[in-house]
Amino acid sequence: MADTMKFDLVSPERSLASVAATEVRLPGTEGDMTVMAGHSPVITTLRPGIVRVLGDGTDLEFTVTGGFAEITGDSCTVLAERSLPVQDMTQEHFDEMVAELRARHDAAANQDLPGPAPELVKLLSDMVAMGTHIGLDPTQASL
C-alpha cells in the first residue's frame, strides 16, 4: 500500500518542500481533493487554504494563498503564489495577506466592475476561513 509519489511545493521565490508522500490534501478551487499515488493526471487551481502532506513519518502542513497544482501518477507539484509552513504562519503574516486581499477587493468594488468582485469576496472568505482553521484571528469582521 505504501506507494509514494514525489511531492514538490514551490513558490516563485523558493522551493519549500520536496518529499515523498503517500497522500496530499489540496484545497482545490472546486473543492478539496486528496491525491494519492496513481491519481489520474489533473491540473487544478487552488483557493487559499491548507495543503497537507502525509508520508512515511512526515506530516506537513502549508498555507497557500492560491496557485495551481499539477498532478501526474507519480508526482504532485504545487505552484503556490505565496506559501508558508503552518507553524511559521503568524498573526502578522495573516493580517498582511488579508489586508492585501481586502485592498484588492475594495479597489475592485470602487471601480464598480461586475466581474471580479464576487471572486474576490470568495477569496477573502476562503482566506478568513483558513485563518480561523489554524487558530488565527481575522481581526476585521468577515464579509
Binding site: 522551493s15 487544478t44 495551481f68 499539477e70 505552484l79 505565496r82
Partner: protein, 291 residues
C-alpha cells in the same frame, strides 16, 4: 612639472580611490552570490510554469476564443517597452547596454510607423532615455526603496502592465533586461511577454493527458497573468545578478587601474626626488669649488 608635494597628494588620493573600488568590488561579490542564489531558487517555479503554459497554450491557441493575452489583440500598432535598469551606476556598461538595445528597438519601431510607449524600471535607464525618447514615457517604477527583489515587486509591475493592456493601451509588450551568463558576460535581452510567446520545442503533446479543473480555458485565464508576473520576476532577478556581476568586474578593473597609476606616480615621485637631491648636491659642490 608637478612639485613633490603635488605628486604625494595625488598618490594619496589614488590610493584612497583604490580602497573604495576594492571595497565596492567585494560588496558586489557578496551581493552577486545572494542574487545568484535567489535566481537559482526561482528557477523551479518558472520552469514548471513554462511547461504547464506550453501544454495549455498549445491546445488553446488553435481555438477561436483564445484569451487576448495569448492570441494578442490582432494588431501590433502600439508597443510597450519595459526597460529594466539599475538604481545605481558604477556598474560598467550594464545600464548603457540595455538602454542601447531598447533605443535601437524603439527607433526601428518608430521608423516602421508604430507607436511606442516606454515603462522604465530603475532610475538609470530613465535618465539615459529621457533626452531622446522622454516623450514616450508612460510610467516609472522606482526601485530605490527595494532592498531585495521579491515576488511582490514583480507582481505589482505585472499588475500595472496588465491593467494597461486591459485598458487597450498597447498591443505588444517587451521586457528589456540583462541576461546573466557569467561575471564577465551579461547579454542584453529583449523578451516579448504579451502576447505570450511559447517556447518552441516544448512538449505540447502532454496537455491532452490532463484533466483540467475548473476548465482548460479557466485555468489558462488564471495562469496567463501569473506567468507574466513570473517572467517579470525572472527578468528582475537576472538583472539584479547581472548588475552585481557587471559592477564586480568594473570595480576589479578600476582597482587594477588605480594600482597601475600608483606605481607610475611613485616612480615619477622618486625620480623627481632624486633629481632634486642631485641638484642640491651639485649646487653645494660647485659653490665649494668656486671658493
Amino acid at each position: 612639472m608637478p612639485s613633490l608635494k603635488d605628486l604625494k597628494n595625488r598618490i594619496g588620493s589614488v590610493k584612497s580611490t583604490r580602497k573604495i573600488t576594492k571595497a565596492m568590488q567585494m560588496v558586489a561579490a557578496a551581493k552577486l552570490r545572494r542574487a545568484q542564489e535567489a535566481a537559482e531558487a526561482a528557477r523551479p517555479y518558472a520552469d514548471r510554469m513554462a511547461s504547464v503554459m506550453a501544454g495549455l497554450a498549445g491546445a488553446a491557441s488553435g481555438s477561436a476564443n483564445a484569451p487576448r493575452l495569448l492570441a494578442g489583440t490582432g494588431s501590433d500598432e502600439v508597443h510597450l517597452l519595459v526597460v529594466m535598469t539599475s538604481e545605481r551606476g558604477l556598474a560598467g556598461a550594464f545600464n548603457s547596454s540595455i538602454v542601447r538595445l531598447a533605443r535601437q528597438y524603439a527607433t526601428d519601431l518608430l521608423a516602421q510607423g508604430k507607436t511606442v510607449k516606454i515603462l522604465t524600471v530603475g532610475k538609470k535607464g530613465r535618465e539615459q532615455l529621457r533626452r531622446d525618447l522622454g516623450h514616450l514615457f508612460v510610467a516609472h517604477v522606482d526601485m530605490s526603496e527595494v532592498k531585495r527583489v521579491g515576488y511582490d515587486v514583480a507582481q505589482s509591475i505585472a499588475q500595472d502592465v496588465l491593467s494597461r493592456f486591459d485598458a487597450g493601451e498597447f498591443d505588444v509588450a517587451t521586457l528589456f533586461y540583462n541576461r546573466f551568463v557569467s561575471v564577465i558576460s551579461q547579454i542584453p535581452t529583449a523578451r516579448q511577454v504579451i502576447p505570450a510567446q511559447i517556447e518552441a520545442g516544448a512538449d505540447t503533446g502532454a496537455s491532452a493527458l490532463y484533466d483540467y479543473e475548473p476548465s482548460e480555458e479557466g485555468i489558462l485565464a488564471e495562469l496567463l497573468p501569473r506567468s507574466i508576473a513570473t517572467q517579470v520576476f525572472a527578468a528582475l532577478l537576472e538583472n539584479a545578478a547581472s548588475e552585481q556581476g557587471a559592477r564586480m568586474s568594473a570595480m576589479d578593473n578600476a582597482t587594477r587601474n588605480a594600482g597601475e597609476m600608483i606605481d607610475r606616480l611613485t616612480i615619477e615621485y622618486n625620480r623627481s626626488r632624486q633629481a632634486a637631491i642631485t641638484k642640491e648636491l651639485i649646487e653645494i659642490i660647485s659653490g665649494a669649488e668656486a671658493l
